[in-house]
């Protein structure tokens, strides 16, 4: 659905995006993470055919961003960094205008407009001027605009910024629904827990270059090493002479908590548990240690800074 190969953009002497290669299939969400100015917005603008790549290529829903810019724009729904709403219009007029521009017939425009306003809880203020809306309401309306033509590809820049928790949940649910409806979605966000909850693929971009990309599990393994498992014991237990199964290493021991790094959990964990119990370890619980996207992100950024 979205494919980029060596996608690059130079402004004067500065490479804003440098050799980005990504692939997002139908029904996948890719979270593009990075600091401000890392190249997220430039990448999205190239995928919307607003900026012409200096090097490389990109296709969106099968259309080339350079040679078929209007076809690309017709199949993409964009939520931009700024809401970009016409404040003197009402929400109804606003969605109708964009529906028209996306060539929806009047009955479909009305239906889509009603559905979206209802979904985002804006139906009661649909005839009020947008200038009177709160930040969160504006964000929801901007998202409704991106969805008005039911695009197969969505490029969302900070989709839940400025939203209250309830509205943010609504948006996340909508994104999850769209994923189920086989849409290809790229979200640019600083909200790591949101990315963790929504994304199938994560890409971390720094100074225009993709540092790492993959599923969260792949990134955890690649960046933080093999997964860790923790055995909680009911009483202190001495490890002396305990034969660790192959592919298992003890990573830490603090009181009644033992942590093991396991290369192949499917194979090694049953053997490890058996060995612990056989040697009389009073195991209460055995669980995987949670490693958040935030840890992955911070580790990646720390590695980069160390390299520089």
């Amino acid at each position: 659905m979205i494919e980029t190969e060596d996608l690059s953009k130079r402004f004067d002497d500065f490479w804003a995006v440098d050799g980005v290669s990504l692939r997002v299939r139908e029904g996948q969400v890719l979270a593009l993470l990075g600091q401000n100015g890392a190249g997220k917005t430039t990448t999205v603008r190239m995928l919307t055919a607003l900026l012409t790549p200096t090097r490389g290529r990109a296709t969106v829903a099968g259309y080339d961003v350079v040679s078929q810019p209007n076809q690309v724009r017709a199949v993409v729904g964009v939520l931009t960094e700024q809401h970009g709403l016409y404040v003197r219009m009402t929400a109804e007029e606003y969605l109708d205008f964009f529906g028209q521009v996306y060539r929806l017939d009047p009955s479909r425009r009305r239906r889509r407009s009603r559905e979206l306003l209802e979904y985002f809880g804006l139906e009661e203020v649909a005839r009020q001027r947008i200038g009177e809306y709160s930040k969160g309401m504006r964000q929801k309306l901007a998202l409704a605009r991106a969805l008005i033509h039911e695009p197969p590809v969505l490029l969302l820049d900070e989709p839940t910024s400025a939203m209250d928790p309830e509205s943010a949940r609504l948006v996340r649910d909508q994104i999850a629904k769209l994923r189920s409806a086989r849409r290809a979605i790229i979200i640019c966000t600083h909200n790591l827990s949101e990315a963790e909850a929504l994304a199938d693929i994560i890409a971390i971009i720094y100074r225009g270059r993709i540092l790492v990309t993959g599923t969260l599990d792949e990134l955890r393994r690649r960046v933080l090493g093999a997964p860790e498992y923790e055995a909680l014991l009911s009483a202190p237990w001495r490890l002396d002479g305990f034969p660790l199964p192959q592919g298992v290493a003890l990573s830490s021991q603090e009181g009644t908590r033992l942590r093991f790094r396991v290369k192949d959990p499917a194979k090694a964990n049953p053997a490890l548990l058996q060995a612990l119990l056989a040697h009389g370890a009073p195991v209460v619980t055995f669980r995987e240690v949670t490693r958040s996207l935030e840890q992955v992100y911070l580790a990646v950024m720390a590695q980069v800074r160390k390299r520089l």
């Binding site: 402004f11 603008r45 919307t48 607003l50 900026l51 012409t52 209007n70 076809q71 724009r73 017709a74 993409v76 964009v78 931009t80 960094e81 700024q82 809401h83 970009g84 709403l85 016409y86 003197r88 219009m89 007029e93 205008f97 964009f98 028209q100 521009v101 996306y102 060539r103 901007a142 605009r145």
Partner: protein, 478 residues
């Protein structure tokens, strides 16, 4: 082929903005004032001015001021609502609304014409309303209404002014990085049009309706060219990308020098490679300019032969003498000790070429070509005058013009072609270069032709004209 379906988005964009404008009192209030109060004020002021002048022995009639007032009343609402056109793109950029709009599958020209339509509709509606209101005021007084023909000319001029100013403002809006910058650039639109209106006012008072139609045509051509320029250089990328308006003299100098010098390492190489490549680019403009020169000379010849004889027959000799003296004065040749010296001829010709360039640079070649055409017309007229006094124009051409014309005419053709080229590249879409780069490179091409060929040819021509042509002419006349 453009279908109705393609044109509809233009109306959608215009309608949305019109709706916005009618909800903004800051746009409506000044327009209402200019539409309803300004015609009243104009009427009172014109009456007072006529009374004042007549009190001191003037012989002004208020009726004569009515067409002039129509022109002014039509002009003012356009200048105020120009603000809307000036911020058409850059205002949306500042408010952050441009990106969602640019991300839609609208074609560039649909976006552009949508903005142009809304930019022109409001000022035109205001102008027409103001003029209509003024005509109601005029009809209620003991004043003569302008005739239908003059009224049609005045309305056509007002429409042409509106389109010219709005198309200029939209072009400015696509190239500016902020509303402030666009507003600062507005003077580049308002001032030339104000000067233009002064010229048109003279034509209105003079009462030459044919020339007034020509003014309508010239303004319309300029407006069309401005639309073409704006569209040719409209880039979604620039609207989103550029943030700073810095006058980078170093970059300008570097770009100019790179285009002027090219890869040449010596003057000979420069002539052989760089100037030759510029001349190759000038082939088509050169052909057009030569055709234009022939046309100008032929029209000048026949027009003069037809009308000059009639005029001389009808005009008293004293008046003819006065006019000749005035013409001599205007052409700097009335001094008693005047002689056609080399420096005078050379500087006069260089000045003519520079005026042609300046006119062309501010009007996408239109004024430059007009000056060129007038120059060639004068050559034709001179030949016709020779014919009228019973001499052979061909013989006079061969003796009085050809010796230095061999050098001067190619120089003029080359200068004209480089000015035509400058206008042509500005109105031609160029994906790879900004408008600034295109202009500087075309300027470098003009400079190359000037330095490499035009000035040396004019210098040789001036030497021949000062020292050789008079001798040949005297010998021929004897």
């Amino acid at each position: 082929m453009i279908s109705r379906r393609d044109l509809l988005p233009i109306w959608w964009i215009a309608r949305r903005e019109l709706r916005d404008q009618f909800r903004d009192w800051r746009i409506l209030f000044p327009l209402a004032v200019l539409t309803l109060i300004f015609p009243l004020l104009m009427n009172i002021v014109a009456g007072e001015a006529v009374d004042f002048v007549n009190r001191y022995g003037g012989n002004l009639v208020l009726d004569r001021l009515v067409p002039f007032s129509v022109l002014i009343i039509g002009f003012f609402p356009i200048t105020v609502s120009l603000v809307v056109a000036l911020e058409a793109f850059v205002g949306e950029k500042e408010r952050g609304t441009i990106e969602p709009l640019l991300s839609t599958p609208l074609e560039d020209w649909q976006l552009y014409f949508g903005k142009l339509l809304v930019g022109a509709l409001t000022p035109l509606a205001a102008s027409m309303l103001a003029i209509a209101f003024y005509m109601v005021i005029v009809s209620r007084q003991d004043l003569t209404m302008p005739n239908a023909h003059l009224m049609a000319q005045l309305l056509a001029l007002t429409v042409a002014h509106a389109v010219l100013m709005v198309s200029g403002a939209i072009a400015v809006s696509t190239q500016s990085t902020s509303v402030r910058a666009a507003n600062l650039l507005a003077s580049f639109i308002i001032l030339p049009v104000a000067i233009l209106i002064q010229g048109e006012t003279v034509l209105v008072f003079w009462g030459n309706d044919r020339v007034l139609w020509l003014a309508v045509l010239a303004v319309s051509i300029m407006a069309a060219l401005l639309v073409r320029v704006g569209l040719a250089h409209f880039r979604r990328e620039y609207l989103l990308g550029r943030e700073l308006d810095t006058l980078n003299f170093r970059w300008m100098g570097r770009t100019f020098w790179r285009a002027f010098k090219g890869e040449a390492r010596s003057p000979i190489q420069w002539y052989r490679v760089e100037l030759a490549s510029t001349l190759r680019r000038l082939r088509l403009p050169l052909l057009l300019v030569v055709a234009l020169a022939l046309l100008g000379a032929v029209v000048g010849f026949f027009w003069t032969r037809t009308y000059l004889a009639q005029w001389l027959a009808q005009t008293p000799p004293e008046e003819v003498k006065d006019m000749v003296a005035q013409l001599q004065e205007a052409a700097d040749v009335a001094m008693p000790d005047f002689a056609l010296s080399f420096p005078w001829i050379f500087l006069h010709n260089v000045r003519a070429v520079l005026v042609m360039f300046l006119g062309g640079a501010i009007s996408f070649s239109v004024l430059g070509m007009l000056f060129f055409l007038v120059n060639m017309g004068v050559v034709g007229a001179a030949m016709a005058a020779v014919d009228l006094v019973g001499l052979s124009p061909w013989r006079m051409f061969a003796a009085g013009l050809l010796p230095h014309g061999v050098f001067e005419l190619p120089a003029l053709f080359l200068a004209g072609a480089s000015i035509l080229y400058l206008g042509a590249v500005l109105v031609t879409p160029n994906e790879q270069r900004t408008m600034g780069t295109v202009f500087i490179e075309a300027l470098a091409d003009w400079a190359k032709v000037m330095v490499g060929l035009v000035i040396p040819l004019l210098a040789v021509a001036a030497v021949v004209e000062a020292y050789l042509t008079p001798l040949i002419l005297l010998w021929t006349l004897r």
